[in-house]
Symmetry: C2
């Protein structure tokens, strides 16, 4: 029986942890598969996967055209290694999922095709290379596929799905927009085509239809406003009306419409996915419950011992006291078993980051209590805790800002820098002296970490710089730059002193993790376009340092650019000659301004259709991705905002408070630090203190704000599903369409 | 008794029409006041007010510096006239509102202060003018106040209120943004300030702190990207990271945050106002009911005769049959009286644009039935109704597009133009022949009107042009331009043939009326900035036609602009020399691109602080107003979208359908025209046909989509208030704050 129980326990644990990770893999249920499943989810396996994904992507830096050239053999060996790792990871995944589920998932097919393509291309390219035939490494653009399809984060795939789902609607709006563009271009051709006007550069103005379409497309992005209008406007003021009408219709209305369509789809699909995930989690928890349930009176329950074993298995690294807390929350009447309702919450309970705070006196207080508790020490600590202490340092920061802005060369100023550094270090030491060091450097004390790191980095860099200067009489430019940046970064802390700013900053910091996944999305698009761009434009434009004697140095080494805006703007360093440059060019194209100068410049040195590359990038990056990014920021902000208003408190948080083991986060924030930690009996003898807790133990929810927007939305949605509703079956969940309403009566339980 | 009844009737009618107009004026209840109230709301009074508001605003075109100069006496007399009209309108308003309400309303105070200021300024300026002392007409910037405070449309005031309410929150984000800007500028100063770098124009790069702040602020708007980065980037590629970080933090994150804050506030206040309006309407209808109610059995009701009199009074211009329809909807069991519940709907009922369609045969069919019903005629009409007819004309339009794009000079092409014109005219004639002309030119047949107008305008212009050409051998440029534009506009119609495009176009067309009120908002901001701009920059920059011999013609007549980007870009015509030019400059500043060139140019010819004018305009127009515009488009789009999904059908529409007097709008759209009008007995003998209707009478809801987003939102909100809930009292409604939840139990009735 023990063997069976442990197998079932293992399986239940797999269900629970799957629900906890919020994944939707219907995995195999044999004990071996469950063990492999655990291995698959280990942090080092995941980290390794990410490492190889980024290694594979970064190969572009070392391959021809390289930033740091490496021999072909080296890069190709690394690529083969990466592909092998990806294949292994995929095989591992195949072992733990049902065969039909595995083959139905486009993710897996994509990965396999990508591996095959990469290997084929590598073989062909290598073979041709032996015979010195130059060919194109076309398979490099499939590399980002691994990032999309392996990534654990749902966000990046969701963004891609969102794009895919938005495409039909966007396409119609885009066609209408193109129609409007073509109509306006036709009008422009008829109005200005035969006026013999000239642009500011002396070129013919609005003669060729395709040129007009391009110019007006650029005007939609506002990049050539008002230049494109000036010749016509100079000719007659009335023609300004044409351009005003154009800008209103195309730039303001159509571009807003694009945002509206993207945002609307984003919201719609977000809702649908959240619903799917919530149902999936509920269903998995029910499966786990069914595996472990025993009869108790009229109902099925899970016994306390079993529950503890389960939690140990699912979350081996939480402390005993934390597990006790979870038990007390789940089994609040201490009946020795957990009913279904409480059991279903387990995944959520495990997800809440509870920080176990040991209420302990300051280590100095233990080592030398006499000194630490002396009147001087007491006074010092009360000074540090006083608001005035913060204000004093705010004033110091402001004075420091003035000193930074002043001239560096004066010796007094550079002495002052040492004084400021000393003051900041004293501040940190005083704070550590006053507050408990382990609390000061707690997981969520963002600003303390930030301060300490910045100041010690600045200290190190300044000492390094001074040493270099005194020994070699030479300022290392790189180190000096870092010192400057660190010095300015120190000033940021002043924001934290003003309540209103702190709220906005917190919102921004909360959004950061999800923003990073948008970084992933951008990375994918950039990689693909950079690789294409390098194939198309590599070596066409060269950068020469000023005063170079190279031929055509002012024309970026290419006579075709003579008199072009590109050369005149001194944009020669914006080229596709290596991976890093390409990224910077693409960044500039994302910012949009002057992109037509780039497009014209590169079209001059290659061929006119090269403009299509730039138009394609604009459509993909600016019209779609940036709009998704804006949608995401809007949605995240609104969720944060509604959270701030409604003070969503879950049952778990309430329970911690009820048990008198909570610490008010406000109190913490107000006093900036764990001030109230020093009175060990604060509330602990509260209402719910039936079972004696280790004295001095207090729990704190890591942050009242759930880190990700996802988690919050899911919680909001879950509050809407009644507890009896077990949701649709796995298959139905996976096929939920955005259009279908929440099905309330599909409570068919699947036998396991 | 009749006298009393008629007085009460009048008062009730005033309440009803007030509810219908959705205004919140608690007006006086004396009969005289009610009559004045009616007068106040007459269309000619309102039109006259608008006329004088725009007349007053347009004075800037005729005053110094004028587009079309008029003597000071003329403009000042017109201004005094306008001010008198405004004063009269205000006094009229004072007569019909309670004194305390009148004086509590900031709108009225604003108007009075504005009138006083204008008169004072006019007097001072006139007096000084007599002694030839030049002074500033500073009061001209208060003129837009009249547009804001008199406007009947709530939207423009709501937008202003929204701005006012958003200000505190925007300010904090803005301060944080400025802090970030200052920090980055400090870093830039330290990193690049001592490198002796030069910009592409050979000017020193990033030396002066204030210059850096300005340059980086411009970079936030992306207007000087990538130029501002190039010198540093050329020096070392690593410096690109600084600019990338800057753009991500400030352009992407902060600018999205601004949109989020504005949008969030817009939504919040929209909701609150809609709620206030809905309660106000409910309350007014209850007041009206209480005035007219009589006892009938256990309940209070309004008798049919009284109800009819009321409707006649409130809406004198609706037809008898329309009134009968409303009665049948309100008193659906034909009991001879209307109960409270039905009565409360009256204002909504009156607001629904019902088109009375008389099912009548074609006038030609009546005049010459033999010919019209002959086989040839029947065939012709069936051809016109066929889908192929539409497709044929779509092909013709496409061919026409190609011909337009071809060279105009060839005689064949200009003959072809006549052929196309003839084809389009034939199409319209055929359609009028086939469909009923009055239906073809119905109120909501947007595309028919559009087509006919465009084609007849094109015909007129083409004939005019040909006549001029043959008589004077001279193409009038203006007329030819109009001909070109009209020709291209004809092509737009092809959009209507594709279902998907039609949906998007309808959404856009529905949004237009509300967008116009944003035009009003923009007008206000533009007026204020244009008047200030003219005072600051008037005459500083001159435009000379090409090949002019004036001194400094290439430097816009101002040596200070030598070698500036402003002169090099040939921007001389962008100046503040008159009201029209100023508007165009402001439009270009709204589009943002190159605004720093303008700012630097005007700062060069006046003084460096002049840049503040441009920064202020950017903050007001781009950060606030454009974001409100985008918020509005987003919200409008989402409402339209949810409408499309949910098919909101009100009780009234259902009733019309039930009574069998409705026409399916889809049927109309599918057949493009009133095809089904010809079978007079379609559905008329339906279920509800107890009372005989005049045969051939069919009602149609003007549009399934309510024209304004407002009306729709209100309807959505009303659906949420239970019918018994009479809402809070007038005073409470007026003081509703956005934060308070919907108060459900404040049902205190006020005695009248």
């Amino acid at each position: 029986m023990a063997e069976v129980a442990s197998q079932e326990l293992l399986l239940a644990a797999a269900f629970v942890s799957d629900a906890q990770y919020n994944r939707n893999i219907p995995f195999k249920t044999s004990p071996e598969a469950v063990r492999l499943y655990y291995l698959y989810n280990r942090w080092f396996m995941r980290t390794a996967t990410y490492f190889f994904i980024f290694l594979n992507l970064s190969l572009a830096v070392f391959e021809e055209p390289a930033v740091y050239p490496l021999p072909f053999l080296a890069t190709s060996l690394v690529e083969v290694l990466c592909l092998l790792v990806f294949f292994g990871r995929l095989m591992h995944f195949a072992k733990i999922t049902h065969r039909n589920v595995f083959w139905k998932d486009t993710k897996n097919i994509c990965i396999m095709v990508a591996i095959l393509l990469s290997l084929t291309d590598l073989a062909i390219y290598g073979a041709l290379r032996i015979y010195n035939i130059k060919s194109v490494r076309w398979s490099r653009i499939v590399r980002p596929i691994f990032l999309i399809n392996f990534a654990e984060s749902r966000q990046i795939r969701r963004a891609f799905r969102s794009i895919r789902n938005t495409l039909p609607e966007i396409t119609y709006v885009f066609l209408l927009f193109m129609f409007s563009l073509l109509m306006f271009s036709l009008m422009a051709l008829k109005l200005f085509g035969e006026r013999n006007l000239q642009t500011a550069e002396g070129l013919p103005y609005f003669r060729d239809y395709l040129e007009i379409v391009f110019d007006l497309y650029v005007l939609v992005t506002t990049a050539n406003s008002p230049d494109v209008m000036m010749p016509a406007f100079d000719f007659s003021s009335w023609y300004a009306l044409f351009f005003i009408a154009f800008v209103i219709v195309n730039t303001y209305i159509f571009m807003s419409l694009f945002l509206a369509v993207v945002y609307n789809n984003y919201k719609k699909h977000l809702k649908n996915e959240i619903r799917t995930l919530a149902y999936m989690k509920r269903r998995k928890m029910i499966e786990a419950f069914n595996l472990l349930k025993e009869e108790e009176g009229t109902q099925f329950v899970v016994r306390e011992a079993m529950w503890k074993q389960l939690v140990k298995l699912v979350a081996p690294d939480i402390s005993n006291s934390h597990r006790e807390l979870l038990l007390r929350i789940s089994d609040d009447e201490q009946k020795g078993f957990i009913d279904k309702k409480s059991f279903l919450q387990l995944a959520d309970l495990l997800n809440i980051q509870v920080i176990t705070l040991k209420i302990r006196s300051h280590p100095l207080g233990q080592w030398m209590p006499r000194v630490y508790r002396s009147a001087v020490s007491q006074f010092l600590r009360s000074v540090v805790r006083h608001r005035g202490f913060v204000w004093t340092y705010d004033v110091i920061i402001l004075i420091n800002a003035v000193f930074i802005a002043l001239d560096e060369e004066s010796p007094y100023i550079s002495y002052a820098e040492w004084i400021f550094l000393a003051l900041y270090i004293i501040e940190i030491l005083l704070k550590v002296y006053t507050y408990e060091p382990r609390a000061f450097f707690g997981k969520n004390q963002f600003w303390n970490w930030f301060d300490t790191l910045i100041i010690f980095a600045a200290l190190t860099a300044t000492i390094l710089n001074t040493t270099l200067k005194s020994t070699t009489k030479y300022n290392s430019q790189r180190i000096l730059d870092i010192v400057f940046i660190l010095r300015v970064l120190r000033l940021i802390r002043i924001v934290d002193s003003i309540q209103r700013f702190r709220v906005i900053m917190n919102t921004l910091i909360n959004i950061v993790p999800t923003m990073l996944t948008f970084g992933g999305l951008t990375l994918v698009v950039y990689c693909i376009f950079a690789i294409i761009g390098m194939e198309l434009f590599h070596g066409k434009i060269q950068f020469f340092p000023p005063n170079s004697n190279a031929p055509y140095a002012l024309e970026c080494g290419n006579p075709a650019l003579k008199d072009s805006l590109f050369a005149r703007g001194k944009y020669c360093k914006n080229n596709f000659n290596n991976f890093a440059s390409s990224f910077i060019v693409l960044m500039e194209l994302t910012v949009v301004n002057q992109w037509h100068v780039f497009a014209n410049g590169f079209a001059n040195v290659t061929a006119q259709p090269a403009k299509l590359y730039f138009i394609a990038f604009h459509i993909v990056m600016v019209i779609i991705i940036v709009n998704i990014f804006v949608s995401f920021i809007l949605e995240a902000f609104f969720v944060e905002y509604s959270l701030e208003k409604s003070e969503v408190e879950t049952a778990i948080e309430q329970k911690i408070q009820e048990l008198g083991m909570g610490v008010q986060e406000e109190a913490l924030q107000d006093e900036q630090l764990l001030d109230n930690m020093e009175s060990p009996d604060n509330d602990l003898e509260g209402e719910g203190g039936t079972k004696a807790q280790p004295k001095g133990l207090v729990f704190k929810i890591a942050s009242k704000r759930y880190r990700t927007v996802d988690a919050l939305l899911q919680r909001m949605f879950e509050a809407e599903i009644p507890l009896e509703d077990e949701g649709p079956s796995f298959e139905e969940i996976l096929n939920l369409s955005p259009a279908t309403a929440v099905p309330g009566d599909l409570t068919s339980e699947r036998a396991v």
